[in-house]
């Protein structure tokens, strides 16, 4: 089984390499300190399994998976216990290992990878329909799943590894990306108008040139997103 490791920490890569050497049928063929180098490698090479860290600068493990056209089996390796729920949304993720890694648990993960048939996830019309039927979203904050009604959200802003969800009652900072939350939001309410902003376009107060006033926030509209916003509005 050919595998690679993607982790920005040298110590993690060394530990995974050492653990791989304990298992006869595992062949660690490359190590990468960031997702971009791994991505380039995977464009030219086929692997069976990736050990993937979630928290990396610039590009999270989940972002990395989203960029892969046909992801191989993936074992997440992280110090974060709170992202297991998100991990279950990916069919390619066969296990979730919390650091520090130890051999017995590592072996179980490998056995699971051997047994699991990875099925590429396809965003079918059915899943899209289900997304539009839902009225709320659950977010993981401080190990609690907090319910937020879609209708109360007026703005979502990207903040590095986090997103800021603004509602009429309060704001929530959540460890996620705009791309991930965009997949969960109903199209009849939300639209991405800039690479850092998604708005609930039913809550717009006014639009002026290249910005939108929504509640008390002035949000820029990127040139490429403006036509879609205008198409969605009920213009006189």
């Amino acid at each position: 089984m050919k595998c690679i490791v993607v982790d920005d920490e040298s110590a993690s890569r060394a530990i995974i390499s050492h653990l791989c050497s304990q298992i006869d049928y595992l062949e660690l063929i490359a190590e990468f300190p960031n997702a971009m180098e791994a991505f380039k490698y995977l464009n030219k090479n086929k692997v069976d399994l990736i050990f993937l860290d979630i928290h990396m600068p610039d590009f999270t493990g989940f972002d990395f998976i989203d960029t892969l056209k046909s992801p191989p089996k993936i074992i997440l390796t992280t110090s974060d216990r709170d992202l297991a729920i998100e991990a279950f949304e990916y069919d390619c993720i066969v296990d979730y290992l919390v650091k520090p890694l130890e051999l017995p648990r590592f072996e179980r993960a490998i056995q699971r990878a051997v047994k699991t048939e990875s099925v590429p996830k396809v965003n079918t019309p059915d899943t899209k329909e289900k997304k539009d039927e839902k009225k709320e979203l659950y977010v993981n904050i401080d190990r609690r799943l907090i319910k937020i009604d879609f209708e109360k959200i007026f703005l979502i802003e990207a903040k590095g590894d986090y997103i800021l969800i603004k509602t009429s009652e309060k704001n929530y900072t959540v460890h996620s990306t705009l791309k991930k939350i965009e997949e969960k939001l109903p199209d009849h309410l939300f639209l991405k108008i800039h690479r850092s902003y998604i708005i609930n376009f039913t809550r717009i107060i006014d639009i002026e040139d290249n910005s939108v006033l929504i509640e008390k926030d002035v949000v820029p509209i990127s040139r490429s997103n403006r036509p879609e916003l205008m198409r969605r509005l009920n213009l006189l």
Binding site: E9, A11, A14, I15, L103
Partner: protein
């Protein structure tokens, strides 16, 4: 305060002295950089960045066998994500004992 130890590393290495030496060398090289990034994030008062640095340092804490300190760091990380510095003093004391330990390796 809990002291760094070789419990995790010895268990992981199971007698492989060359790997133990290599891993300790990596920790010795990587830890000061991670602490430096943490301090820079604190100076810029950027809580999500500080939380990310603490997150990364948690792994070093666990490699150096300090379970109680790991949980303390975990709570500090959660506090930072909620906008609070609560636990900073304890966390920085952990950084100091780790620094002292790796300097003597």
């Amino acid at each position: 305060m809990e002291k760094p130890n070789f419990l995790y590393i010895d268990n992981l290495c199971s007698g492989d002295k060359a790997f133990k030496a290599r891993l300790l060398q990596i920790v010795k090289e990587e830890l000061p950089d991670e602490i430096q990034k943490y301090r820079e994030s604190v100076l810029s008062n950027n809580l999500p960045n500080i939380a990310a640095c603490v997150h990364k340092l948690k792994h070093k804490i666990s490699i150096l066998g300090m379970e109680e300190n790991y949980h303390m760091a975990e709570r500090f990380e959660e506090n930072l994500k909620s906008g609070s510095y609560k636990g900073r003093g304890e966390f920085e004391a952990i950084l100091q004992v780790m620094t002292d330990f790796v300097e003597e390796l």
